[in-house]
């Protein structure tokens, strides 16, 4: 009779691990034994479509980490829309493998204030030809919050006609907040399109004054502008009710920050 020994817990990540370089490791340590090595596996069969929405929650201890591993079959599509909010340390990590002609769509918002550390980490592997991916992340950060997007795109040698796009924009409400945007491209094929853009900015003061001059109070003006700013992350959700639901949650989180 043989007995299966429990696998040892993998060691706690360090700042030296690329995918964890902006993480809050002190907050991670106590929950690490429970989450290490665990991830939700999703397989989208050839020709099918699937969608997932993730909204982080406040917990005790206030750490919320979601890890997905997704395989998108031939000409299949997977849509992930997520909100990194609420947790003191929150992380949404997704590893995606795209087969021929598959599409991965990511729309994410990171909304943090106080001392929150929130991150979205993606590893998108274009393993076969003709697959496409589009990742849109919008962050609004106040106080001493840190919001990070780490987006790795790998294109295999024979994955020609890959089209991978990343658009990452962050808005800082206070000079003490921090935004990290880190695209990482590993391209081994030669006929591919990999576009990425990242900006970090502040609310346009001229626009805020313009709105005030029309009678809109400052908090309402900021809310209107930030709502428009994060809408890019959810514009790809075709189901109107679903889009309104996640946008509603985002607006609630924004409202609490202003």
């Amino acid at each position: 009779m043989s007995e299966t020994l429990p696998l040892p817990t993998p060691p706690l990540p360090t700042k030296g691990d690329e995918a964890w370089r902006y993480a809050d490791l002190d907050a991670l340590a106590p929950v690490w034994p429970d989450i290490a090595g665990k991830r939700e596996e999703i397989v989208v069969s050839a020709g099918e479509s699937a969608a997932r929405r993730i909204v982080l929650e406040a917990r005790d201890p206030n750490v919320d980490i979601r890890t997905l591993a997704v395989r998108i079959g031939k000409h299949a599509r997977f849509d992930l829309h997520c909100l990194a909010i609420a947790a003191d340390y929150g992380r949404i990590a997704v590893e995606v493998t795209l087969e021929e002609g598959a599409h991965f769509e990511l729309g994410g918002a990171i909304l943090g204030s106080g001392g929150q550390t929130l991150e979205i980490v993606t590893d998108v592997r274009h393993a076969e030809p003709g697959a496409t991916s589009n990742q849109v992340v919008r962050s609004v950060l106040g106080g001493k919050a840190t919001g990070s997007f780490l987006g790795k795109v790998g294109v295999a040698r024979h994955a020609q006609k890959t089209d991978a796009a990343q658009s990452v924009k962050a808005m800082l409400l206070d000079r003490t907040a921090r935004a990290n945007a880190k695209p990482e491209l590993e391209i081994f094929a030669d006929d591919v399109k990999c576009a990425h853009g990242a900006t970090v900015g502040e609310l346009d003061k001229a626009a805020l004054f313009y709105m005030a001059s029309r009678g809109i109070p400052p908090a309402e003006a900021r809310r209107l502008m930030l709502r428009a700013f994060i809408a890019d992350a959810f514009v790809a959700i075709e189901d109107e009710a679903a889009r309104e639901e996640i946008e509603g949650r985002a607006l609630e989180a924004l409202g609490a920050m202003l």
Binding site: Y210, A212, S213, R214, G215, I216, E220, A228
Partner: protein
């Protein structure tokens, strides 16, 4: 009745004095034009009255309907009935004109203790005003000023003016960048919206063209931060013919 009383106003921008003792009174039912060369302080006057950050009042006072205007935040000034028309209207990506204007109008109504206008009633009003100013109603749905030509932006300012229907309008070079036809439409719009016994207008302009349509009651010449001459509509004609230099020397 005096609506706006500016008394010995001094203001600076980034530590540089721009307004140096400007005094001006606007009564209800009056249209005043302020003309002057580049750098005289015309836009600074508009921004100080609107309450823009960075425009520091160092001396003097401004009262609006007996209240201290300078003590009010910009959005409070708007709710009290002041409208600032921008020389360079600002683009707000992702916020539709309709959404923006309804938020503005209802914020003002709320501040005044009035009931919010319903979506339907607001849409009707917005369409009527846009039509009267010959603006395509489709433009109401577009993001505020984004992708608008210079003329369209100015027309949009007038549509906002018409919808908000303020008591006192300060219009900063509303005529710049307009062709002759647009100038006439906008001038007629100003007359229709603001030429009323209970309203006042401060029209800041470089040129006399707009004044041919709007016909101010008073024309002031602003030079080096002060009003150096005040007259009737004929003063604008003299400025056009003789230039600022001659008038400033005579003053």
């Amino acid at each position: 009745m005096t609506m706006l009383r500016i008394d010995n106003l001094h203001a600076e921008v980034g530590g540089t004095p721009i307004l140096k003792g400007l005094s001006l009174e606007i009564g209800a039912g009056e249209i005043h034009a302020v003309m002057g060369p580049n750098g005289a302080g015309k836009s600074t006057l508009a921004y100080v009255l609107g309450g823009r950050e960075g425009y520091e009042v160092t001396q003097g006072s401004v009262s609006y309907e007996e209240d201290d205007l300078l003590a009010m935040a910009p959005h409070e000034r708007a709710a009290a009935g002041l409208f600032l028309g921008f020389q360079y209207p600002v683009e707000i990506p992702g916020v539709s004109n309709l959404h923006f204007l309804r938020a503005a109008l209802n914020a003002q109504r709320d501040a005044r203790g009035e009931e919010a206008l319903s979506g339907g009633a607001f849409l009707k009003l917005a369409r009527e005003v846009a039509a009267s100013l010959k603006m395509d109603a489709e433009m109401l749905k577009r993001a505020v000023n984004v992708g608008f030509s210079g003329g369209e932006k100015k027309r949009n300012e007038m549509v906002q003016l018409g919808i908000i229907d303020p008591k006192l309008a300060i219009l900063d070079e509303t005529d710049s960048g307009l062709d002759i036809d647009a100038l006439r439409t906008i001038g007629e719009g100003i007359n229709a919206i603001l030429r009323k016994p209970d309203k006042g207008v401060l029209l800041i302009t470089h040129y006399q063209r707009l004044l041919e349509v709007v016909e101010p009651d008073y024309v002031h010449v602003l030079s080096d931060g002060r009003i150096v001459k005040t007259g009737g509509p004929d003063l604008a004609v003299r400025l056009e013919n003789e230039g600022y230099g001659a008038i400033e020397e005579a003053a």
